[in-house]
Symmetry: C2
């Protein structure tokens, strides 16, 4: 064996050195139960001298709780989940919990598998984002396990504890604003449409707005979410439907990279095409033009969800099996402007070719 953990001091070592029993050590170090001043100082001294630290594994086994929260998100590479994790961390740390993190890559099987591992490790509770909150093997499993959990981002129709924003309403609002600005022809750009109920809810929302206005249903444009280069897909769309004047992207990462792709075509945002995102990640306010988007309180959602889970764990609260909707806000940005009345001359194929040559050289 290479470099392994050297035998760390246990409570027995401390007891031996302090000349008392392990029970006394435990009482002193935990500050519970009686202990004479003499014993107290001897124990403290011994613990100090030995550099004693509790072994939380032993404690967990006996206490039947691990002070650990499981977290399952699709990926940490999308800042929206990263920001939520920061929020979860905040609350967890403040309340003395650690985070066991797993990423599912938008794959329900991996969700289930990760969940299984986390449950085996006896997490006290779970915060997770699943592919499809209304039909999730992972949710079934965590329910069977009777472990407190709260979803984040997911906005289930069924009775499941969750903290989210109102995806449908927010997207409908975006739809209304697009229409008000004259964008009768818009497209909805999504990454993992099949694997994200949020994405579908958002699409439904914008479609509802368009339907209500009698406008044509926005085309659904699915792009590879791993690849951040969407030039080909967008070029195809603009060729197919040149009247498209706005892109509503399922999340900010997508929106940002869509803007990048459009610029490669020498298309100006918002003069030639408007772009709207969803999430309100930190970077969305830092770029210029600022990204018009739905600002969601990602970190607060993480904090709230973690808080509820911990309340549930500690018996402070029976976690309600319903979605807590946190307020969203449409945040205007330079990436969204009124549609041109005349369709711009978009020399797409040549521009595209040019851009690609430039880049691939």
């Amino acid at each position: 064996m290479g470099m392994g953990v050297v035998a760390r001091a246990t409570i027995r070592d401390v007891a031996r050195r302090a000349g008392c029993s392990t029970a006394t050590v435990s009482r002193v170090l935990n500050g519970v139960g009686p202990a004479s001043e003499a014993a107290r100082t001897r124990v403290l001294e011994a613990a100090q001298a030995l550099g004693f630290r509790f072994n939380e594994i032993g404690r967990s086994l006996q206490a039947q709780r691990s002070r650990t929260l499981g977290v399952i998100v699709p990926t940490v590479a999308n800042p929206v989940f990263a920001e939520a994790i920061d929020g979860i961390q905040d609350t967890a740390r403040a309340r003395g919990y650690q985070l066991l993190l797993a990423c599912s890559n938008y794959d329900p099987n991996e969700e289930l598998q990760s969940l299984s591992m986390l449950l085996a490790k006896q997490v006290d509770g779970l915060v997770m984002t699943v592919s499809n909150a209304d039909d999730s093997a992972a949710i079934d499993a965590v329910r069977r396990a009777q472990v407190p959990f709260v979803l984040v981002f997911n906005q289930p129709c069924t009775a499941v504890p969750a903290v989210a924003v109102d995806n449908f309403a927010a997207a409908r609002e975006v739809g209304a604003r697009l229409l008000a600005l004259g964008h009768g022809n818009a497209a909805f750009v999504a990454g993992r449409f099949r694997m994200s109920d949020r994405s579908r809810q958002r699409y439904d929302g914008v479609c509802a707005a368009y339907a209500q206005a009698g406008a044509p249903q926005p085309e659904l444009l699915e792009v590879d979410y791993l690849l951040l280069d969407h030039r080909d897909t967008l070029a195809a769309l603009l060729e197919r439907r040149p009247e498209t004047s706005a892109l509503f992207c399922s999340n900010d990462m997508l929106a940002l990279s869509a803007i990048g792709a459009l610029r490669e075509f020498a298309l100006r945002v918002p003069e030639d095409l408007s772009v709207v995102g969803f999430d309100g990640i930190a970077l969305s306010t830092a770029v210029s033009p600022r990204l018009a988007t739905i600002a969601t309180p990602c970190a607060a959602m993480g904090r709230t969800a973690a808080g509820r889970v911990i309340d549930g764990i500690e018996g402070i609260l029976q976690i309600p099996a319903e979605t807590l909707i946190l307020p969203h806000e449409f945040r205007p940005g330079g990436s969204l402007a009124a549609a041109r009345t005349v369709s711009p001359a978009r020399g797409l194929p040549p521009a595209q070719r040019h851009a690609r040559q430039t880049l691939e050289s």
Copy 2:
């Protein structure tokens, strides 16, 4: 107590149901040691019927290993760490380890405190990024604890296991390129300069290039890393040193938001000012103009570091106490161009005022 974990089936329950001892159950379920076909099927059946899952806490206590890796990074909100975590995850999952995640917020005290918690939870090894790899209480502590660890991103001078890119060399290369393009006056923009050895190494690198060329040392511009709005700071710089023609940012997030801020001043990138980043996060290739940056293999660094740690844990390898340098690559991008020979007219104060009014209305 609210909803707690209901008593889960233990190995004893399985044994009872299968009519054998716990030892047999353990042997069968772990696939080690002898077991008759009859026993095997009875155990499997019983386990199935009871929905038995090992309690990893019990296992860990007995085995003296947790199959858990501790991960400490400054923040998960910076995509560069998020991407590294994805890499760590990859390897960890492949080799059967879970991740216990902690964020230090660039604070050495929090590093130490997080470390302490992770060690108490008996992580088998650690992957971490510390503030200052050459003077880190956390490193001292993890060494004392004799727990295998590898740093990521940190590039220590002292003998510490690490996986990183050569920050100094990469930054010097950026410096050389800036000079070659006529940027005799550049500024280095950093977030947590005091709290990031990487940042300092990068600054030293670019300074070395400038010194060698006899050019004036790039000014160090420290900005609030939490706030992504750097307009005021940048405006002050450009007023103070209007001859500045390029910004070299300590990381891509900073670079991206710097570009955003400049656009708010109606300054064009790269016509008026060039911007170079460092890291090569996914978004840096998606924006337009593409961000010129040092592309670093963040995910690979995470994978490699995790791999080494696990090799160390499993005694496959004695982790070498030295920095493994992974290759970086300068990635050109439209954000960097030759400096203008004549200084552009930069109506800064009015532009700034205008931009801010627009945004704050």
